[in-house]
Symmetry: C2
Subunit: 599 residues, 2 copies
């Protein structure tokens, strides 16, 4: 039994139970179709139909009801993709599939969800909407106008579930908004989104070919393509998608250890000499939002963070190769074994690219594993104009590359690529391959479970594969070139602008543009110690923080901030959002000036 | 400009460009609405309208076209949720949002995707469809009727993208099909699916409150509820959602190490004595599909797999506590330090629950960390009837619990829960808290980045939270009780059935039902060595493997198989699928007998 309710511009027409459809009910359906057109059709029906014809129309409607198809379109007022709505207040999760007769409510429920989501998508790209509607934790916890986060013992109606979905989006952050610049992952790619919806619907995992045949092959082909782009001959090598850059980097350390000291797998770290790792000071010291994943890996994998040696950088945040060599020699003199060097291609804060070729020379000289963390900068490999910033990446033993950052793929999508085949399996396989004769009917080399530190593994490949199909390699290139153009535009606009000061000199290598903003009240201070000190305080404890807080409260834009080394808090602008344009950059500058004017 | 094409039962009517709509075109739309009814309306229009009225109808249509709303419903033949279709062959990803005028193609594209997905959902629950349409890797790689997995440099049309989506689903596995029993994660929960679609659309990560305010709070409240259900006073403690059970278990080992030897974080494993870990032989030896995550963690975290000591089990696969104590004493005598015991609540193959209370006594006596791996069995805590199987879980120091297994939440959704507050952050935080004075405008204790080994972290909570709202605690309980009832039904049906033999005696503790099937041709063999030996061969190399291969080829059902210890390959039936009924269990038995009859 289906209850039909027509909604139009705030008017609700309660049409009645469809199991006993009336002639008027059909008129309601016609109304639902489009208001004007529907009324017209209704008119015809009332005026021109013979009784026989009327009864045939009712039969037809019954047929429709029996087939449980009641969706319709609408063109009046607010855009809805369906106007004929099911009353969800008496429906519950238990009424959905696999329940008997669950098909109709299931379809109506999913379409209703889709209406909520497509409206959200539309608004995400609408600059007149806010990036976020900020509330403090205690406000959300206390409950906002019927949005109650507490879980209950008894089921809630699907109507409440739909309200909860709307509210969840309402109080969230529009990460795809053209003026959201707060993260390395921004934007909402429509094809990627469609891919993720499909992935959720397929709801399988990457453990074996038998339960994810298509996805496993897509992963294999995509990884090969990525290795070709890195520059490894014929795209040879291995790789896997992992739940994020930190875990991809962790894989690289594990694999390096397995390559040099395979006995650690069985005997533990005590079987190896004291091993040391190297990475830029720019990727490990930062406390707020930088990518300290190598440090996390050192702690987790049993090396100890003290055995991660931080490398000095130049003013632009790039590792100084001579410092690496000096520290390698020093470590060896102490009897330690330098094993692993991470060269960052695109640091989190400055967007710096370490000089890979020079680092590779040192790695070869001292027999160390070279990992390139291109979580953020790897995407530049897709651009003929910018890939030179990763020159030498083909000499790496492993590479982390997160399509979910610079390439705009929805979260999560991160790959670790390994030059030498076999290491990934050797390191992570827990079965004695020589004892075990697999007896599956297909080629089990396609199974991926033995390569992973996970057992089940989420399907992260499909959205990326689908986006690649839809955009082509050239589409990714255009996206990346455009983002870098935009950051150059921002840099050019603010480098000599009053009140703005660049954190480091020269055009940024990546889309990261780091700057301070000095409110007018502080600009007259002499450029001596007092001004610096006051600036310091103001920036750390007031200006940047206050400006950021004001941005969040006003909800107009979001840009991250953090300190770096001895530099006090500054704004770090990053552009990975395909929706951003020059007008959004202009807006950002004006908004900072507007909000900061009276500080 | 929009191209209208009406499809009905294989007939395509090319109606024309809507920017120059013709009267016939409107008839086509009427046809699209429902075939019979549409023709009727068409008739009225043709017979009864004055020219003036006709022109008003055309205006109305123009208005619709201008508002870019062309969706309509359909009831004839195959079910489609929209019949009016955009021609996607000349549309590309670059035409979608944020492109100028991208809204209409974006909405049409997403609705088309939704049509594909909702049809897939419908068919998933339809027993007349296959569970899978099996193809070998080389077949899919060579390309199936226009389904080409290779990535190209140039973009492909959205039409091709839609075809790719259909094909991806076509050649995949319907993990939600009522007869898919191959994994611990099965089923397709509609509310969970809706939650995952929303999560993808929100596309944010769990790193900080500022970019995921609602999701961060949902995670916090849900983890607290889970701790209450475990039985920790007032739900106190800590926890985090991780990308799967293996990583949740890895967390538990890391936290235990941090608790007993915090200096390992900075100094590495060499700062600690030789540490040993204990877990059931049933969760580490299996080579095909069991959950060897503790072993993976031992290797990755630098303990070494040799320092993971495997515990003997009884015939039902439960750890023998006396064996644990003996091995602890033995390790101590060797000078090793017993640090961590994993008690499994629901082993992968037998579904065995280790006796937690007895193990907890030993852990307390020898000052060891007790972890309960309830990845598979944790869901039983929701059932008043079955939660006694985890008696003592409240004595654990940490618990892994995967809602994506027994509770039917879409992948990925796994939590690790920790009884002592502060350890998770202490273990994984990379910043010196005493030096760093955070200056955010909200309470930063809600940020989760410091607790995780990841930096970015996928939003896994929302679908689970939404399902809990929709089903209530009682809904999960009903689901779990029903699955266990079904497995009892299966057990009762086959325990004395000719040709079937149970792998272990007695009713299973979980939904795992493990059995051999002996084809008729082998049943006459005497129950001596020869029969056993032949059975062994047949089972390992022929019967089970062949039966499984036949199942996959026929695509009617899927049930996993594996060996365990000295037991040769057997079928492991698991039930977590809410769509499964007794008739599906009956079908499975009959299908095995049908396929196995002539082996």
């Amino acid at each position: 039994m289906i209850y039909l309710m027509i909604q139009s511009k705030g008017l609700n027409w309660d049409v009645g139970l469809l199991s006993s459809p009336r002639y008027d009910a059909w008129c309601g359906v016609a109304h639902g179709c489009t208001r004007k057109l529907g009324m017209k059709i209704c008119g015809f029906l009332q005026k021109n139909n013979s009784l026989e014809e009327r009864s045939r129309i009712v039969s037809s409607f019954k047929e429709r009801a029996a087939k449980n198809l009641l969706s319709c379109d609408n063109t009046g007022g607010d855009v809805h993709f369906r106007r004929t709505e099911t009353d969800f207040s008496n429906l519950f999760a238990r009424d959905l599939l696999p329940a008997k007769n669950g098909e109709e409510p299931t379809m109506q429920f999913l379409l209703e969800i889709v209406e909520i989501l497509t409206n959200y998508v539309r608004k995400t790209f609408d600059r007149s909407t806010k990036v976020l509607d900020f509330h403090h934790p205690h406000q959300l916890l206390e409950g906002m106008e019927g949005f109650n986060l507490e879980l209950s013992d008894q089921p809630e109606s699907l109507e409440q579930i739909l309200v909860d979905c709307r509210d969840t989006l309402k109080y969230g952050v529009r990460t795809g908004h053209p003026r959201f610049f707060n993260q390395l992952s921004t934007g909402l790619d429509i094809v990627g989104l469609a891919g993720e919806w499909l992935t959720s619907t397929a709801n399988t995992n990457m453990f074996t070919y038998e339960i994810a045949p298509v996805f496993v092959l897509m992963e294999q082909l995509t990884l090969k393509k990525m290795r070709e782009i890195i520059g490894w001959p014929d795209g040879e090598g291995d790789g896997i998608f992992s739940p994020g850059g930190a875990i991809s980097n962790m894989y690289s350390v594990m694999i390096a250890r397995y390559k040099f000291f395979p006995e650690v797998k069985t005997k533990g770290m005590t079987a190896a000499p004291r091993l040391v790792l190297f990475t830029s000071e720019h990727v490990s010291l930062n406390t707020v939002s930088s990518h300290y994943s190598i440090k996390k890996a050192s702690a987790a994998l049993g090396f100890g963070t003290e055995n991660l040696i931080l490398l000095n950088t130049d003013k632009r945040g790039r590792v100084i190769p001579a410092d690496l060599e000096a520290k390698v020699i020093e470590a060896k003199q102490k009897g330690y074994v330098p094993m692993f060097v991470n060269a960052t291609a695109g640091t989190t804060v400055y967007g710096a690219f370490d000089p890979i070729n020079e680092i590779a020379d040192i790695c070869e000289k001292y027999n160390m594993w070279l990992h390139v963390d291109g979580a953020w900068g790897g995407g530049l490999l897709m651009s003929r104009k910018h890939r030179h910033k990763l020159n030498g990446v083909e000499r790496a033993n492993s590479v982390t590359w997160n399509p979910h950052k610079m390439m705009g793929v929805p979260l999560q999508c991160s790959a670790v690529l390994v030059r030498e085949r076999g290491l990934l399996t050797g390191c992570n396989s827990m079965c004695a391959g020589y004892l075990f004769q697999p007896d599956k009917q297909y080629d089990i080399t396609y199974d991926t479970g033995d390569k992973a530190i996970q057992c089940g593994r989420h399907v992260d490949i499909f959205k990326f594969w689908l986006m690649w199909k839809a955009k082509g390699t050239v589409g990714f290139e255009q996206h990346i070139d455009k983002c870098l153009d935009l950051s150059a535009y921002l840099y050019d606009k603010i480098k000599n602008r009053e009140g703005f000061e660049m954190v480091f000199d020269g055009e940024p290598q990546h889309t990261n543009v780091c700057f301070w903003y000095t409110p007018p009240s502080l600009r007259s201070l002499p450029d001596g110690d007092e001004r610096r000190e006051r600036l310091h305080k103001v920036m750390t404890n007031q200006s940047v923080y206050k400006l950021f807080a004001m941005m969040m409260e006003s909800g107009t834009t979001m840009v991250g901030y953090q300190p770096q080394g001895n530099k006090v808090n500054f704004f770090r602008m990053v552009i990975s959002n395909p929706a951003a344009t020059r007008s959004d950059i202009d807006f950002l500058i004006e908004e900072i000036e507007r909000l900061g004017h009276d500080l």
